[in-house]
Amino acid sequence: MATILAVDDSASMRQMVSFTLQGAGHDVIEAEDGQIAYDLAQQHPDVDLVLSDVNMPNMDGISLIKALRGMDSYKFIPMLMLTTESTKDKKMEGRAAGATGWIVKPFNPDQLLATINKVIG
C-alpha cells in the first residue's frame, strides 16, 4: 500500500480524502497548505503519490508541485491536482509545473480511489 501526501486547505476535504484512502489501506500524510506540505515532504522522502488542491493560502498547489519536482525523491512520483473544472488554465499551468494529472472536483470517494489505483496500481 502506498504513502500518500494529501494537501487541501479545506478540513472537510482532507477528512474525506484521508478517510477514503486510509479505508483502502494507504498511509496518509495530511497538510493544509503548500508550504506545510513542502516541509513535510522534506521529512518524508518515501511518499508514493501527492494529491494537492490548487487554491491554497501560503503556497498554492502549482507552486508546490513545481517545488517538489525539484526534490530527488519526488522527481518521478505521480502528483495529482484536485481541481474544479472552472479552472482550465490551472490544469495547463499545473501540467507545466510537473503535475501528472488531475482529479476534477467534485469527486466522490469511489472516483478518487479509481483514479489513484490507476496511477499507483
Binding site: A11, S12, M13, M79, T84, S86, M92, K105
Partner: protein
C-alpha cells in the same frame, strides 16, 4: 468500499460558515476600485472552497449558487472586473443567502430558493456587462499558438460513429514525460481495459547506449485497439493528462486494416496488460540496457494521424451526477457541538495529567509505607494533588473559552447595513476582541448584543444632519469593548449619540403604567426604566427595533447567563450599556457562609470585605433601613436570615459577621452567622432540578455530600430593596447624606 459521505457534512458546514465569515469581512473591507489582491484572493478562495466542498458533499444547489460569485471574484482577481460597490453589495447579499441556505441544509429544512434565484439573476446581469464579458476563455479562439491549441474542435470526428471496429493509436511521449509522473505503461494498460490491444514498440529514436539519459523516454508505441463499443472519447480520456507531453494520433480502422503495417513492426509485439513493458523490452538490440524505456528524440514518426487530440474542451469531464441529491441523514442541527481547540492548550492539558499521575503514584507509594513520620509528606502530597487538580480544571475550562471576536465579528456588517438603511453615518470600533469567554455564553450572547447594537443604531445615533446641528462630528461612533474585571468579563456598547431623554422616558413609563404619576425617581432609576418589560420610547416603530422585543428581554437573556445589564447615559453625549458576565457558567469560587443552620455560598468575586459585626455601628434611618458605618461610608445592611425566611434563633452566642458585597458599584452588608471555608464549587442548576428561586443562582454539593445554595448577589440587592419598600438609590442617597 462505500464511504458514507454524510459523515463529513458537519466539518463541511463548520468550515463553510467560517469561510462565509472570511468572505463577509473581506467584502466589508473592499472599497470600490480596490486592487488589494491579497484580500480579493482570500475572498475568492473562501468562495472556491465552499463551492468545491458543496459539490463534493452533495449540496449542488449551494455549489451552483456559489459559482457566479466565484466567477465574479475570479474576474476581480485577474483585474478583469473592477470592484464596484454594486458588486460588493450583491456579493454580501449572496453571502447572507448562502449562510441561510447552509443553515437550512444543516438543520435539514427545505430551502426557499426565491431569494437565491433573484440574486443569481443579478449576478448574471453584472457578469454580462461588457467589461465583464471579455475574459471567459471559452469565447476566445485558440488562434495564435499552435502547440497549446486550447479549445475548438471538440469530439466531432472522434465520436461520430461509435460502433467502429477498431482504432489505431500512435503514442510517442516527449522525452521528458516521465518527469511528470506519467507512466506510458499505465496509459497502455488503461487502453487494454477498453478492449483487445496489440502493442508495438517503436525503437526508432532509441540512441546508443552511451547516449541514453536515464530520465528520458525514447520509445514510441503503436497500439491497435479492438472492441465492441470503444468510443473515441474513452480513448481521449485516457490520454487526457498527457496530450501536451506526447504526440498522439487516434485513427479509426476497420477490421481488415487491423494488420500492423510491416514497417512498424520493428520490435516486439505484445498482447499487453498485466505486466510492465520493462519485461517485454529485454530483447531489443541494446538488451543490456538497464532502462525501461529507451528511444530517441522526437521526429515526425507516427503514421498520418486521422484525428489529433486537441483541447481540453474535447475531453469529457467525469460525470458529476452521482453526488446530486443531498442525503438527508445524520449531522444533527442546532448549536454546534464541536469546538476547535488550540493544540497548545491540549499539550498543556496532557502535561498536567502527567503531573497528576506522578503525584498520584507518589501518594500511592506513601500509603503503602505510611507511618506517623510521613504525615507531613502526605499533607504536602495532597496539597500538590489539589494544585494539580485546580490547574487541570482551569485548563479544561479554558478549552471552552473562545475569543469574543467570534461574537463581535458580525457587527461591522450589521452597522454597515444599518447605515445604509437608516441613512446614518456611524463608525464601529471594536476593542478587546481577544478577551476570551465561555463558548456557551458566547453563543447565547449573540442575540442580546445584536439587539443592543441595533438599538444604539436606531435610537441612540442621530443622522449626520442632526449631529452637525448639535455641533457634533458628522460621523457617529459606536464602540464595542470587552475586558476582564475581577472574575468577570465586561462588555460595553457605547455610542456617542443623543443619550437618553429622562423626561421622555418618565412620561412614557407613566403612560405605560410602568411607574405611578408623581413618583420621584433618581436619574439612574429613570434610565433603568428602559430595561423594564413593556417599554419602548421610539416615536415610530421602525422595522429594526419594533420587533416586539424590548430591552427587558435582553436583560432577561443576560440574567439567564448569570450576568447583569446596566445602562448609563448622558443627554447629548451618548449611552453606554454594560454587560457583566461570569467567565464560565460551570464553576464558581465561593465563600461558604452559615445562616442559622444552613450553609450558603457567596461568589467570591462579589465580596469586597468581611468583618465582625459591631452593633454600635448600626444606625437605623427612616424607612427602617439599617446602615452600617465602615470607615467613612454608610452601607445598607441586609439580614440574610430574614431575607431567606429562616426561623430566627434569638440571642445566639457567637458574634455575627458582616460580609460586604458589591454589585454595579454599589455595596451592601450581608449579616451572616459564620464564615466557613472558601472553595470552588460546581454550579448545579436549580431550574433543572427544582425550580428557579429568587435570590439564588444555583446549588452545589459539598464535600460532605450536603447541598448548599448559591446566592445571587444581584438578586439580593433587588429583594432587599423590595423588602424595605425602597429603592436602593434612596438608601444610598440617605446613606451618603447621613455620612455627610
Amino acid at each position: 468500499m462505500a464511504v458514507d459521505i454524510t459523515q463529513f457534512h458537519e466539518m463541511f458546514f463548520e468550515e463553510s460558515f467560517e469561510g462565509l465569515e472570511v468572505m463577509e469581512n473581506g467584502l466589508l473591507n473592499l472599497p470600490p476600485g480596490s486592487s488589494d489582491i491579497e484580500l480579493i484572493n482570500d475572498i475568492f478562495r473562501a468562495a472556491h472552497s465552499i463551492k468545491g466542498g458543496a459539490g463534493t458533499f452533495g449540496f449542488n444547489e449551494v455549489s451552483e449558487f456559489t459559482h457566479d460569485l466565484e466567477t465574479l471574484m475570479d474576474l476581480m482577481r485577474e483585474g478583469k472586473f473592477s470592484v464596484t460597490s454594486e458588486a460588493v453589495e450583491l456579493m454580501l447579499q449572496a453571502v447572507d443567502c448562502l449562510r441561510h441556505m447552509m443553515t437550512e441544509l444543516k438543520d435539514k429544512r427545505p430551502i426557499d430558493y426565491a431569494n437565491a434565484s433573484e440574486i443569481s439573476k443579478h449576478f448574471k446581469l453584472i457578469l454580462e456587462k461588457p467589461e465583464a464579458a471579455a475574459p471567459e476563455p471559452e469565447q476566445v479562439p485558440a488562434a495564435n499558438d499552435t502547440d497549446t491549441d486550447t479549445d475548438t474542435d471538440t469530439d466531432t470526428d472522434t465520436d461520430t460513429d461509435t460502433d467502429c471496429k477498431g482504432w489505431r493509436i500512435g503514442f510517442k511521449p516527449n522525452p521528458e514525460m516521465l518527469q511528470t509522473g506519467n507512466e506510458p505503461y499505465r496509459i497502455i494498460r488503461e487502453l487494454g481495459e477498453l478492449g483487445d490491444i496489440k502493442v508495438h514498440v517503436l525503437l526508432d529514436d532509441l540512441p546508443s547506449y552511451e547516449l541514453i539519459e536515464p530520465c528520458e523516454c525514447y520509445l514510441a508505441w503503436q497500439i491497435n485497439l479492438f472492441g465492441e463499443d470503444v468510443s473515441g472519447d474513452a480513448i481521449d480520456e485516457i490520454f487526457e493528462w498527457v496530450i501536451d507531453d506526447a504526440e498522439i494520433s487516434v485513427e479509426e480502422i476497420s477490421g481488415a486494416e487491423a494488420v500492423i503495417p510491416e514497417e512498424a513492426l520493428i520490435s516486439e509485439e505484445t498482447s499487453i496488460p498485466k505486466e510492465p513493458p520493462t519485461q517485454t523490452l529485454d530483447k531489443p538490440k541494446e538488451a543490456d540496457s538497464p532502462l525501461p524505456e529507451p528511444s530517441a528524440v522526437r521526429k515526425e514518426v507516427s503514421p498520418a494521424p486521422a484525428v489529433e487530440i486537441k483541447s481540453e474542451a474535447a475531453i469529457p469531464i467525469p460525470p458529476k451526477s452521482e453526488s446530486t441529491k443531498p442525503k438527508d441523514e445524520p449531522a444533527r442541527g442546532g448549536d454546534s457541538k464541536s469546538i476547535r481547540v488550540n493544540i497548545e492548550k491540549v499539550d498543556a492539558l496532557i502535561n498536567m495529567v502527567g503531573e497528576m499521575v506522578i503525584t498520584q503514584s507518589m501518594l500511592c507509594q506513601l500509603s503503602k509505607e505510611y507511618n506517623e513520620e510521613s504525615h507531613n509528606e502526605l499533607v504536602s502530597g495532597l496539597a500538590q494533588l489539589e494544585a494539580n487538580t485546580r490547574e487541570l480544571q482551569e485548563s479544561v475550562m479554558s478549552l471552552r473559552m473562545m475569543p469574543i471576536s467570534f461574537a463581535f465579528n458580525r457587527f461591522p456588517r450589521l452597522v454597515r447595513d444599518l447605515n445604509r438603511q437608516l441613512e446614518k453615518d456611524v463608525e464601529l470600533v471594536l476593542h478587546g476582541e481577544h478577551t476570551e469567554l465561555d463558548k456557551t455564553v458566547m453563543e447565547k450572547l449573540g442575540d442580546p448584543l445584536t439587539h443592543l447594537v441595533r438599538n444604539a443604531m436606531d435610537h441612540g445615533m442621530e443622522t449626520p444632519q442632526e449631529r452637525l446641528a448639535q455641533g457634533k462630528p458628522e460621523k457617529g461612533k459606536i464602540e464595542l469593548k470587552a475586558f476582564y474585571e475581577g472574575g468577570a468579563v465586561v462588555i460595553q456598547i457605547c455610542d456617542d449619540g443623543k443619550g437618553l431623554d429622562d423626561k421622555k422616558i418618565q412620561a412614557k413609563a407613566i403612560s405605560n403604567g410602568v411607574i405611578q404619576e408623581g413618583e420621584v425617581l433618581s436619574k439612574e432609576e429613570i434610565q433603568d426604566l428602559i430595561l423594564r418589560p413593556g417599554f419602548s420610547t421610539a416615536d415610530k416603530v421602525s422595522d429594526l427595533s419594533g420587533r416586539g422585543v424590548g430591552l427587558d428581554v435582553v436583560k432577561q437573556n443576560i440574567r439567564a447567563l448569570n450576568g447583569s445589564l446596566d445602562v448609563q447615559s448622558k443627554e447629548n453625549s451618548g449611552t453606554t450599556f454594560t454587560i457583566r458576565l461570569p467567565l464560565t457558567l460551570a464553576i464558581v469560587d465561593g465563600q461558604l457562609i452559615r445562616v442559622e443552620d444552613s450553609v450558603y455560598i457567596l461568589p467570591l468575586i462579589a465580596i469586597s470585605e468581611s468583618l465582625q459585626l459591631e452593633e454600635k455601628n448600626i444606625n437605623t434611618v427612616a424607612g427602617g433601613v439599617d446602615l452600617y458605618r465602615i470607615r467613612d461610608e454608610n452601607i445598607p445592611v441586609v439580614h440574610l436570615n430574614a431575607l431567606f425566611k429562616h426561623d430566627v434563633t434569638e440571642g445566639s452566642e457567637l458574634p455575627k459577621m458582616l460580609v460586604v458585597v458589591e454589585s454595579n458599584e454599589r455595596k451592601i452588608g450581608l449579616v451572616v452567622d459564620e464564615l466557613l471555608d472558601q472553595q470552588q464549587v460546581v454550579i448545579k442548576s436549580l431550574e433543572a432540578n427544582y425550580q428557579s428561586v429568587e435570590g439564588l443562582s444555583g446549588a452545589t454539593i459539598l464535600g460532605d455530600g450536603t447541598v448548599a445554595l448559591i446566592c445571587d448577589v444581584h438578586d439580593i440587592f433587588t429583594m432587599s430593596a423590595g423588602q424595605y419598600q425602597l429603592s436602593f438609590d434612596k438608601i444610598f442617597q440617605s446613606g451618603h447624606n447621613y455620612a455627610a
